[in-house]
């Protein structure tokens, strides 16, 4: 056996756990979900082939499905830009030589590390109209605040706000990105007479585009999967205003035991995430700056 061949065999040996896991826990489930999407399956009886019926129902008869897509699109459209803008803003503030800056970093990052169930329960209290801190605070200023989570207009923004509170990961990735920008670039810009704002647009923003790009892709994929806060705080209500796509999928699959229909929803979810990612990747060469200086 040649040395190269030996090395290749060892290589496959080392990656074999992942390769097996990939086939078992990724490839097999994805192929099955495509198959199950064409069936009627209630777990009690074996799956029954019904062709495109699930998809026809989804796109022609099931209005809640469209509601769930709309709610998810709304959530993504608000949360992802908020994460990018506020996350970058906070990271720039934290990227300074200030004594005690780690205390601020911890304050902004802490909400991100706690379980979603815990943050949802805390926000349930925070937003409660009788005993919540937010409404009692607003009352001091004479503002009569709505019953956030029981108001169809406000429930979605409230869940977005909880998402924005947990932007720590995005912020930390921005902070790491900012720390990689060479200081000479700012010095050069300063010699050219650029003020702070000009420096931001001439140096910081272009140098941060790869990080913004990364955070946009991961942010969209994460936001697509919003489930916990709605499941815990609102149960999808009021009047389905927080019925997000994954929540509806869970409900169809595990509460109504319509595994076939839920699988068809999963197929569309998979394709939507794929298409959205491809769109962002394809347009990235127009605005992402790759060369590192």
């Amino acid at each position: 056996m040649t040395a190269a061949r030996r090395e290749a065999l060892w290589g496959f040996f080392f990656i074999s756990p992942w390769l097996i896991g990939f086939l078992l826990f990724s490839i097999f489930p994805i192929l099955s979900v495509f198959y199950l999407g064409f069936t009627k399956y209630t777990v009690l009886q074996p799956p029954q082939w019904i062709g495109l019926d699930n998809y026809i129902e989804m796109f022609t008869a099931d209005r809640l499905y469209f509601t769930s897509l709309y709610n998810t699109a709304y959530y993504i459209a608000l949360r992802v830009p908020s994460w990018i803008v506020i996350g970058l803003f906070l990271a720039m503030l934290l990227n300074r030589d200030i004594r005690g800056v780690t205390i601020f970093r911890t304050a902004f990052y802490l909400p991100t590390i706690i379980p979603l169930v815990a943050s949802s329960v805390i926000w349930l209290l925070l937003l409660n109209p009788q005993v919540g801190l937010l409404n009692s605070g607003l009352r001091q200023f004479g503002i009569v605040a709505p019953n956030w989570l029981r108001d169809p207009t406000w429930a979605k923004p409230a869940i977005v706000a909880l998402g924005v509170w947990q932007l720590g990961q995005t912020m930390m990735i921005f902070l790491a990105g900012l720390q990689e920008i060479p200081q000479q670039l700012y010095e050069a810009a300063e010699i050219d007479g650029a003020n702070r704002i000009q420096q931001f647009f001439a140096v910081t923003l272009p140098m941060m585009t790869p990080t913004i790009y990364f955070n946009t892709v991961t942010g969209v994929i994460a936001a697509f999967q919003v489930f916990g806060p709605a499941f815990i705080m609102t149960g999808g209500g009021p009047v389905n205003s927080t019925l997000f796509n994954v929540l509806y999928l869970y409900r169809q699959g595990f509460q109504f035991l319509r595994m076939g229909y839920a699988s068809a929803m999963a197929v569309v979810l998979f394709l939507l995430v794929l298409v959205l990612t491809v769109i962002i990747v394809r347009t990235s060469d127009k605005w992402v700056r790759y060369e590192r200086i």
Binding site: W10, I15, F25, P29, L36, L125, W165, M172, Y250
Partner: protein, 271 residues
Amino acid sequence: MNWVAVIIMLPLAIVWVMPLVLMISTSLKDQAQIFEPSRLVPDPVLWSNYPRALFGFLPFPTFFKNSLIISVAVVIGDVLSASFVAYGFARLRFPGRDFLFLVLLSTMMIPFAVRMIPLFLVFKQLNWINTFFPLTVPSFFGTPLFIFLVRQFYLSIPQELTEVARVDGASEIRIWWSVMLPLTRPAMAVVAILAFQQSWNDFLAPLIYLNKPDMFTATLGLYTLIGGLDAVQPWQYLMAATLVTILPVVILFFAAQRYFIQGVSVSGVKG
């Protein structure tokens, strides 16, 4: 200029930690003071809310034990598998390696919700529902994010170190175990911490796989404690249970902040 940054950050930081302050404050209040949310320092301070919250309604000690068993198993699985698989991707050449690594990276993008129905059905077929196996076994096959993290660390270790061992006739397993592992302890720490946190915080997977209360995890127990959405909540007990549920990850965060931040930063510089 720095004081401007502090003046901007200070109110924002207060807003950010306020929900957590509210949690601590409420967890120590009596029933009457629940209705005075702006009173942040409770009087009297009711420590007795904690034993009541943890023993009085649901068996939280059991939930914590379950969460601990699952999280420790996941940590062991992820640390072993990530370092093992990453060695193959970082140190050995084989046909299709770069393509397979790309495949590994792209699987990170597949939402759990897409796979959850077939996975549930498979685990049901295996009679693994209401066991911890669906939550722990997959970690022994490697989690893409962690494999990626360890690979980045491996790439920074000079090739000469492994070459010397290879010339001495050490097998690849030996090189991985006695040369690479000791050199990459920080990477193992990052993986262990992130794996623990993700496993402890997980909600959707335990929700699907566990439905017997004595198998519940801490997050599932906390969810159950809420009861009906429009029910009048026993806020002081709910907040006490919440605080205890988040405590392990918060302690871990403060004890190992450096590793947390390292892990997040490395995962961001994919380029």
